[in-house]
C-alpha cells in the first residue's frame, strides 16, 4: 500500500502548494489593489495612529491640530471652528472623510510614511506629519465673518502679485469640530467661495472691457450708443431704470454700468475672442487651487436646460454674457481672479492656499513659489481698465467702498433673480486696492437681497475686508 500513500502525499503537497500560491496572491501580487480597495478600512485605521501636522494661518494662528484620543490614536480639533471651516475643512480618519485643506494637504499632514514601515515600523517612533502654513489672514477672515453676518454669501481675497488666498469665507458655514451630515439652512459644508454658482451681473463687464480694449477694437474713450432698450439675440435688453444714455465713452459705460453698451462691445468683439479672454481668466476650467477637486466648481455659462455650453458654443447669447447674464455662473474665487489679473498688470497668478510645509524639526520641506497661471492682457490694457474701475469707486456705482486716502478700483454687479418684475437681486462687488500698487484683490457675492445693489450691499462688505487686510500691512 506504499505506492498509493506516496501518491496521496503528492496530492497533499499539491493542495498545500495551492494554499501558498493563494496566500501569495493576497499578500504580494494583489496586495496593493486590496490595500486601496474602497471597502478596506485598514488604511483609515492606520491613519488614526498618525499624529497629523497642524494647519496654521499666515500669522501662525493654529487652525487645526491633533490631540490624543484613547487607544493610542489621535483626533483633530479646530480651535478657530466656524471662522476657517471652509478653507481648512475637516478630517475624520475613522470614517475616511476629509474636506478642504485637510484633504488636499493630506499627504503633507500625514508626513511621508515609507513602504519599509512594515519591517522597521516598530523601530521608528510613532509617525508624525508635517505642519502646513497657509496664506490665510485671520484679521481679514474675521472682517469677512462680521461683514457677512446675517447674509448668505461669500468673500474671497487674493494677493494679486502672488496668488495667495488671504480670505476665503462663506456664510452659512459650519463648525468643523462637528461637521453636519446633511445641509440645513443654518449649517452646510457647501463652500460658496469655490462651489457657489452666482450670477456675476455687471462685475463681468471687467472681462468684456478687457477683451474689447486688449483686442484693439475699443479704447476707454471709444464712443458707443447707450440707448435702451436694445434688441440682443432677438430679445430687448434694457439699462437700469430703462435709461437711454446716448453716445458715451466706454469709461462712462463702466462707471455707470450701462448694459446696452457692454452688450454691443461683447457682440462686436465676437464670440471667439470673448471665449479666448474668458479662458485666460480661468473660466471654463476648474480653478488651479490647491484644494480638493470635488470642492471646486467651474465658472461658465449654463444653458436654460441646466447644461453648461461648450466654450464658444453658437447657442451662447454672447451679448448678455458680456454683461454677466446669459446663464453665466461664477464662483467668488473666479471673480477674485478676474480682479487679481487686472491688478497684477494683466498677469494672472495661480491661486494657492498653502504657503509652506514645515516638518517637526522646523525644516521647511516645501514652499509654494508664486507661478503664472496665464498672461491675460497687455500691461497697458490692465492700466486702462484699472483707471476705468477707479472711476466706478470715485463717482459711479461703487462709491460705498471708498477707503479715504487709498484708491480702490472696483466694479459692482446686481443680478436680477427670480421672476420678471421681482425685486430680488444678487449683489456682487469685485475690487482691488490700492489701485496704483495693488495688494489685495477681492470678490464679494451675496446670495439674495430684497432690492439691494452691488454698490449698497456687497461694496460695504468689501470695504470692511479691504480695511482689515490693508491696515494689517496686507
Amino acid at each position: 500500500m506504499n505506492a498509493p500513500i506516496a501518491r496521496l502525499f503528492g496530492v497533499v503537497v499539491l493542495l498545500f502548494a495551492l494554499l501558498v500560491v493563494w496566500t501569495s496572491r493576497w499578500t504580494v501580487f494583489q496586495a496593493s489593489s486590496l490595500n486601496n480597495n474602497s471597502l478596506n478600512v485598514r488604511t483609515l485605521l492606520d491613519e488614526l495612529h498618525i499624529k497629523r501636522g497642524q494647519i496654521l494661518a499666515a500669522d501662525g494662528t493654529v487652525l487645526a491640530k491633533s490631540v490624543p484620543a484613547p487607544g493610542n490614536t489621535w483626533t483633530r480639533t479646530y480651535p478657530t471652528g466656524r471662522l476657517f471651516s471652509q478653507p481648512v475643512g475637516f478630517s475624520i480618519a475613522a470614517k475616511g472623510e476629509a474636506s478642504g485643506l485637510e484633504e488636499s494637504a493630506g499627504s503633507d499632514l500625514r508626513g511621508v510614511q515609507t513602504g519599509l514601515s512594515s519591517i522597521f515600523g516598530q523601530l521608528s517612533p510613532r509617525p508624525v506629519g508635517d505642519d502646513v502654513y497657509t496664506t490665510l489672514n485671520p484679521k481679514g477672515q474675521q472682517a469677512a465673518q462680521q461683514a457677512l453676518a446675517g447674509m448668505h454669501g461669500s468673500v474671497v481675497a487674493l494677493n494679486p502679485s502672488t496668488g495667495a488666498v488671504e480670505v476665503m469665507y462663506s456664510n452659512p458655514g459650519y463648525n468643523n469640530n462637528d461637521p453636519p451630515s446633511t445641509s440645513s439652512s443654518t449649517d452646510t459644508t457647501f463652500n460658496r467661495a469655490t462651489q457657489g454658482a452666482y450670477a456675476p451681473g455687471s462685475t463681468f463687464k471687467i472681462v468684456t472691457a478687457v477683451a474689447g480694449i486688449d483686442s484693439g477694437k475699443y479704447t476707454p474713450n471709444s464712443l458707443i450708443n447707450g440707448k435702451s432698450p436694445l434688441v440682443v439675440s432677438g430679445v430687448p435688453l434694457s439699462n437700469d431704470g430703462d435709461k437711454s444714455w446716448g453716445l458715451q465713452t466706454l469709461t462712462t459705460a463702466m462707471t455707470y454700468s450701462i448694459n446696452t453698451i457692454f452688450a454691443q462691445v461683447a457682440q462686436n468683439v465676437g464670440r471667439p475672442t470673448m471665449t479666448e479672454y474668458m479662458k485666460r481668466f480661468g473660466f471654463y476650467s476648474k480653478p488651479p487651487l490647491d484644494f480638493p477637486s470635488f470642492e471646486l466648481a467651474t465658472s461658465k455659462p449654463v444653458g436654460p436646460n441646466g447644461h453648461p455650453y461648450p466654450p464658444g458654443s453658437p447657442n451662447e447669447d454672447i451679448g448678455r454674457i458680456g454683461i454677466g447674464e446669459g446663464g453665466m455662473q461664477v464662483t467668488p474665487l473666479q471673480m477674485a481672479m478676474v480682479a487679481a489679473a487686472v491688478a497684477n498688470g494683466g498677469t494672472l497668478m495661480t491661486p494657492h492656499l498653502i504657503d509652506r510645509v514645515v516638518d517637526q524639526d522646523g525644516r521647511t520641506v516645501k514652499t509654494t513659489n508664486p507661478s503664472v497661471y496665464s498672461h491675460v492682457m497687455k500691461p497697458s490694457t490692465a492700466a486702462e481698465v484699472t483707471k476705468m474701475m477707479e472711476k466706478v469707486v470715485e463717482e459711479g456705482t461703487g462709491t460705498a467702498v471708498q477707503l479715504g486716502g487709498i484708491s480702490v478700483a472696483g466694479k459692482t454687479g446686481t443680478a436680477q433673480i427670480g421672476a420678471n418684475g421681482s425685486n430680488l437681486t444678487q449683489p456682487a462687488f469685485v475690487a482691488f486696492a490700492p489701485a496704483d500698487h495693488p495688494k489685495v484683490a477681492i470678490a464679494v457675492n451675496v446670495d439674495i437681497s430684497n432690492g439691494g445693489f452691488g454698490g449698497t450691499v456687497a461694496a460695504p462688505i468689501a470695504k470692511a475686508v479691504l480695511q482689515a487686510l490693508l491696515s494689517n500691512g496686507g
Binding site: A6, V12, T23, S32, N35, N37
Partner: protein, 433 residues
C-alpha cells in the same frame, strides 16, 4: 542519537518560539518585557518535557519528530490566541493540559490499538451519533447557519465533529482492511473501469450519503468535505484503484453542485467566495465581509508581516474588523502579522507533520495500522486545507478549526488524541519484529 533524544532536542525550538512569541506580544502591549513571558515559556517547556518523558517510557520507538512538530504548532497557537485575547489563551492552555492527559490516556489504554477494530461498529455509531448531536434542540446550537456545537449550559461546549472524525477513520481503517481484497478482485470491469461489488462497497456508499446528509442537516460543509476526502484517500490507499476516487469525486461534485445551487445557506457561501468584493454582498448580513477582510488582512501583511500584535482586529467602535480571529480566521491574523513567510512556515510545519504521519503508515506492518495512520494524516491535511483554503479563497469558507493553533478545547483535545494514535502506530511499526 536515539529517537527520544532527537525528540527532546526538537522541543527546544518550540519552547524558544513560545517564549519569544510571548515576549514579542508583551513588548508590543506594554513596551516593557515582563517575566510572565518567561513563565509561560517555562511552563510550556515543563509540559512538553513531561509528555516527552511519558512517550520515552511508553512508546520508546515512536517517530521522534511528530511530537515536537505538534509542540511547535501548539505553542505558536497559544501565542497567537494570547495576542488576540489573553483570557482565551489561559483557557487554551488549560485545554492543552487536559488534551495532554487524554493523550496519555489514549496511549495507556490502547497500547495495543488494534483492539479498536473489535469495537468498530460501536465506534462508528457513536461517531455518527456525535455528528447529529448539534441538531438536537436544547443542547445543539448553530453558528453562521451551521450546526457545529453542543452546549450543556454551565458545564461545557464542544464540537462533536472534531471527535467523530477520529472514530470514522478508525472504522474505515478496520472495514477497508477486511474488504479491500474483495473490493478489488470481486469487482467487474466495465468500459475499463473497475466497478466494485455493491455488497462490500455498500457501507462506503452509506458514508458518502452520511457526509452529504451532514452537509444538508447540519450545514457543516467543512466537516463533510473533510470526512469525504478522508474516505476517498483511505479507499485509494486500500485498493490502489484510481477509478474509485474518480467515481467518488464525480459523485461528490454532483452532490456539491446540487447543494451549492439549491441550499440557500450553501449557495450564499459560494457567492461570497466568488464575489467577496461586491459591495452589496460585502454589506449583506452573513455576506462576504469576513472573506473580504481576510483578504485585506493578508494584503496588509505583505511579505514579512506587520509584526506580532500589530494587526488591526477591531474597529474603533468595538465592532469586529476581522470576525472570528481566534478560530476560523486565525490564519489571516498569522499572515497579517508574520506575512507570507510566516504563513508558509506554518503550512510547512503541517506538511512535515503529515509527512511523518504518512511515513508511519508506510512503515506499519499490518493493513489496519497503515490505513489508520494514512487516514488520520489525510484527515489532518484536509482539515488544514479546508480552513486555510477557505481563508485564502481557494475554496468557499467553511468553519473548521486550524488544528493545534485555533482556539477551541474540542479541537486541541481531539487532535492530541489523533497524534497519540499516530505515535502508537509508529511505535509498533518500528518495533523489531
Amino acid at each position: 542519537m536515539s529517537a527520544r533524544n532527537r525528540e527532546l532536542l526538537g522541543l527546544i525550538p518550540a519552547s524558544l518560539l513560545v517564549t519569544a512569541g510571548f515576549a514579542g506580544v508583551f513588548i508590543q502591549r506594554s513596551n516593557a518585557l515582563s517575566n510572565v513571558s518567561l513563565t509561560y515559556g517555562a511552563l510550556f517547556l515543563g509540559l512538553c518535557i513531561a509528555a516527552h518523558v511519558f512517550i520515552r517510557i511508553t512508546l520508546p520507538r515512536a517517530d521522534p519528530y511528530i511530537f515536537p512538530l505538534v509542540a511547535v504548532l501548539a505553542s505558536f497557537g497559544l501565542v497567537m490566541v494570547y495576542r488576540i485575547d489573553p483570557t482565551l489563551a489561559r483557557q487554551q492552555a488549560q485545554w492543552f493540559v487536559l488534551g495532554l492527559i487524554l493523550f496519555a490516556g489514549t496511549i495507556l489504554l490502547f497500547r495495543d490499538y488494534r483492539k479498536l477494530e473489535r469495537y468498530r461498529y460501536i465506534i462508528v455509531l457513536i461517531s455518527l451519533g456525535l455528528l447529529v448531536l448539534p441538531r438536537f434542540p436544547g443542547i445543539g446550537y448553530a453558528a453562521n447557519g451551521a450546526y457545529l456545537g453542543v452546549r450543556i449550559p454551565g458545564v461545557f461546549v464542544f464540537q462533536p465533529a472534531e471527535f467523530a472524525k477520529i472514530g470514522l477513520v478508525i472504522f474505515l481503517a478496520s472495514y477497508l482492511r477486511d474488504t479491500r481484497q474483495v473490493l478489488v478482485q470481486g469487482g467487474r470491469r466495465f468500459l475499463g473501469i473497475t466497478i466494485p461489488p455493491l455488497k462490500q462497497f455498500g457501507p462506503v456508499v452509506v458514508i458518502w450519503g452520511l457526509a452529504m446528509a451532514t452537509l444538508v442537516v447540519l450545514s457543516d460543509t467543512g466537516s463533510s468535505v473533510m470526512f469525504y476526502g478522508a474516505l476517498l484517500a483511505m479507499l485509494y490507499v486500500a485498493t490502489n484503484r484510481l477509478s474509485f476516487v474518480v467515481i467518488g469525486l464525480v459523485a461528490a461534485a454532483v452532490g456539491f453542485w446540487y447543494l451549492g445551487t439549491h441550499i440557500p445557506h450553501i449557495h450564499a457561501r459560494v457567492e461570497t467566495w466568488l464575489h467577496p468584493l461586491n459591495p452589496a454582498l460585502y454589506h449583506a448580513p452573513l455576506g462576504s465581509y469576513q472573506v473580504a477582510n481576510s483578504m485585506f488582512a493578508q494584503a496588509a501583511g505583505g511579505l514579512f508581516g506587520q509584526g506580532f500584535g500589530q494587526a488591526a482586529l477591531t474597529l474603533p467602535n468595538g465592532g469586529a474588523l476581522l470576525p472570528a480571529p481566534q478560530t476560523d480566521m486565525i490564519y489571516a491574523v498569522i499572515t497579517d502579522e508574520l506575512g507570507l513567510f510566516g504563513a508558509v512556515a506554518v503550512l510547512m510545519t503541517y506538511l512535515l507533520l503529515v509527512a511523518r504521519g504518512f511515513k508511519a503508515a508506510t512503515m506499519a506492518r499490518d493493513s489496519f495500522s497503515t490505513l489508520l495512520a494514512a487516514g488520520l494524516s489525510a484527515m489532518l491535511a484536509l482539515q488544514v486545507f479546508v480552513i486555510v483554503g477557505g481563508v485564502t479563497r481557494v475554496i468557499p469558507l467553511t468553519g473548521v478549526t486550524l488544528p493545534f493553533i485555533s482556539y477551541g478545547g474540542s479541537s486541541i483535545i481531539a487532535n492530541l488524541v489523533l497524534v497519540a494514535l499516530l505515535l502508537l502506530v509508529s511505535d509498533r511499526a518500528r518495533r523489531p519484529a
